[in-house]
């Protein structure tokens, strides 16, 4: 039996499936957070979620809208100062997976979340890199979630906010950066992984109903295909059900009017 699903749901489910039980995951807000919590509520009940706001091993009942929602603190094993998160936990080498988003990505998994155009006189000033530059180097590997289109998947970045494989062909490993870097990019069309020799991202899987050609056209560089391009298994009924429940709980919780004791 199959269920209907949206590309966003497929993307979240595909990202969630990359996580495993017991994995220590440093979670960005938005889709990474949805995916990590879906993993926790399905295949990986003992996954350890760390948010950069200092909430360790948190188990939110509803998704946070900000990286520092009270829900994260209420359900965490420990709530610690932010400098310790970055120094003791991330730089300390205790994170298995960093889960990132970005505005732009290049073929080597480098990310831009800083500016479009000249840095001093940008066309578009983006929010900036936040925790990502160090997540990308200290986590043992990183996963990236990003909707796929030619504006986001670009042949060259105007600004490199966060290191992927740098210029590829082993450049990252030679630079002394410790973590293994981007091992998967999950888009709303499919999944890319780095080629072992060149570090170049290549298509390894597509979502059901999406053609390889669609994906190539949504990529700003000539996208290479893996020897075999799989079809990602459709979301199960359980996955879709739990994800929609999570989003429904989240909407209900965030729709409450806030009253203040003043």
């Amino acid at each position: 039996m199959t269920v209907q699903w949206t590309p966003d749901e497929m993307m979240t489910v595909a990202a969630a499936r990359l996580l495993w039980n017991g994995c220590v995951c440093f979670v960005g807000i938005g889709l990474p957070s949805a995916a990590a919590n879906l993993a926790r509520l399905t295949r990986a009940p003992d996954i350890v979620l760390i948010y950069e706001s200092g909430t360790l091993a948190t188990r939110p009942d509803v998704l946070p809208l900000s990286i520092g929602d009270g829900e994260l603190a209420d359900t965490a094993v420990a709530v610690i100062p932010l400098p310790e998160v970055f120094a003791y936990w991330l730089q300390g080498g205790r994170v298995d997976v960093g889960f990132l988003g970005a505005a732009q990505i290049d073929r080597y998994g480098n990310l831009n979340s800083t500016v479009i155009g000249d840095y001093a006189h940008p066309t578009t000033r983006l929010p900036g890199s936040g925790g990502a530059p160090e997540i990308a180097v200290h986590a043992r590997q990183i996963f990236i979630v990003l909707k796929q289109n030619a504006r986001a998947f670009v042949p060259g970045l105007g600004f490199r906010s966060t290191a992927g494989f740098l210029e590829g062909h082993g450049a990252r490993a030679r630079s002394g950066i410790s973590g293994a870097g981007p091992q998967a990019v999950i888009t709303d069309l499919g999944v890319l992984r780095p080629a072992p020799d060149t570090d170049e991202l290549q298509l390894v899987a597509r979502f059901d109903g999406v053609s390889v050609d669609d994906i190539v056209k949504a990529t700003g560089w000539p996208l290479r295909l893996a020897d075999r391009v799989d079809v990602v298994a459709a979301p199960t009924e359980e996955e879709v059900h739990i994800l929609r429940d999570l989003h429904a709980r989240t909407r209900a919780a965030h729709g409450c009017r806030v009253a203040v004791p003043y």
């Binding site: 807000i29 938005g30 950069e52 706001s53 200092g54 909430t55 946070p64 809208l65 900000s66 990286i67 520092g68 929602d69 009270g70 994260l72 603190a73 709530v79 100062p81 932010l82 400098p83 998160v85 970055f86 120094a87 991330l90 730089q91 800083t114 840095y119 001093a120 006189h121 940008p122 066309t123 578009t124 000033r125 983006l126 929010p127 900036g128 890199s129 936040g130 925790g131 990502a132 530059p133 160090e134 990308a136 180097v137 200290h138 490199r160 906010s161 966060t162 290191a163 740098l166 990252r172 630079s175 002394g176 950066i177 410790s178 965030h254 806030v258 009253a259 203040v260 004791p261 003043y262």
Partner: protein, 293 residues
């Protein structure tokens, strides 16, 4: 006893041209203090904050700032900070010099400031273009291993302002929940102003709670709801609807000015601000039992 009004505290401690940090990582953002700074017309400030959030969007749009040191400048969960973007992209209402770090770099810089060290070290900025646009990012060589490590200069604000849950009559301040870099920003500052939800006889802090002892605090101001539209753990939740609505308000310069005129410049204090934006008071609506921590 440094207990005073917010007007008095800002007038006494915040001067044009200073380096000023209002900290609070999504949680406990000192909105009331930021608004009072706008009302008092402070200018030429170098604002420092990991995540500028709406409060700095408002201060930048109102023309208070000449520079911004930061590491992530978005509207959390929503998108852009349009006033920040307008200042960077179009120099409106005035040019804004930016000093851009990563979160880890800002955390190391505040920690160095709190520790009275001239710089902090981290394994950071590797493979990024940030050092190309921020000449503050340098390096040192480890005297033991020969490795190069990134350095950031210490952040030592002239004034740090934070919001907390409670202070007692000796100005001891209790923070609980998500802590961000507030402790470090407080210790790094030359002057520290704390707004609190309430002043109590005894903090009743658990062992090892985060308490800033009174002699480090230059002014304590009781401002209930002072972190709204962000939140105060145990007192009130984040008003996500306000954050969403700000996206619309802040896109347009005129609409932004009208908002500031009506809700910040046009009111006398934070309670009036809360009333003006229609925030329900639990004190009006509910029995006393409902206002609980």
């Amino acid at each position: 006893m440094p207990l005073m009004t917010l007007q008095e505290a800002i007038a006494a401690h915040v001067k044009d041209g200073q380096t000023l940090a209002l900290e609070g990582f999504t949680h406990l953002i000192p909105f009331a203090a930021g608004h009072e700074i706008i009302r008092q017309g402070r200018a030429d400030l170098h604002l420092v904050r990991m995540t500028p959030d709406i409060i700095y969007d408002q201060m930048i749009g109102a023309g208070c700032a000449r520079a911004l040191t930061f590491s992530w400048g978005g509207n959390p969960g929503v998108g852009s900070l349009h006033r920040l973007r307008d200042a960077v992209e179009h120099e409106w209402p005035r040019p804004l010099r930016i000093v851009e770090h990563s979160h880890a770099g800002m955390a190391a810089a505040y920690t160095a400031g709190a520790s009275n060290l001239p710089f902090g070290i981290l394994r950071g900025y590797l493979g990024t273009d940030l050092p190309l646009v921020n000449p503050q990012v340098k390096s040192v060589t480890c005297p033991y291993t020969g490795e190069a490590l990134a350095t950031v200069p210490a952040i030592r604000p002239d004034v740090t302002i934070i919001h907390a849950q409670r202070a007692d009559r000796s100005s001891n301040v209790l923070l609980r929940g998500i802590l961000g870099v507030q402790k470090e920003a407080a210790m790094a500052a030359k002057h520290l102003i704390v707004t609190v939800e309430e002043v109590v006889e005894s903090l009743d802090a658990p062992m090892n709670a985060v308490v800033l002892p009174g002699w480090t605090v230059h002014a304590v101001v009781c401002v209930p709801g002072g972190a709204y539209p962000s939140y105060a753990q145990g007192y009130y939740a984040r008003d996500n609807a306000f954050y969403l609505a700000w996206d619309e308000v802040s896109r347009d310069r005129d609409r932004f000015r009208q908002w500031i005129d009506a809700h910040v410049l046009g009111v006398t204090d934070h309670a009036a601000f809360l009333r003006s934006v229609g925030v329900p008071s639990t004190r009006d609506a509910a029995g006393p039992g409902e206002v609980s921590a």
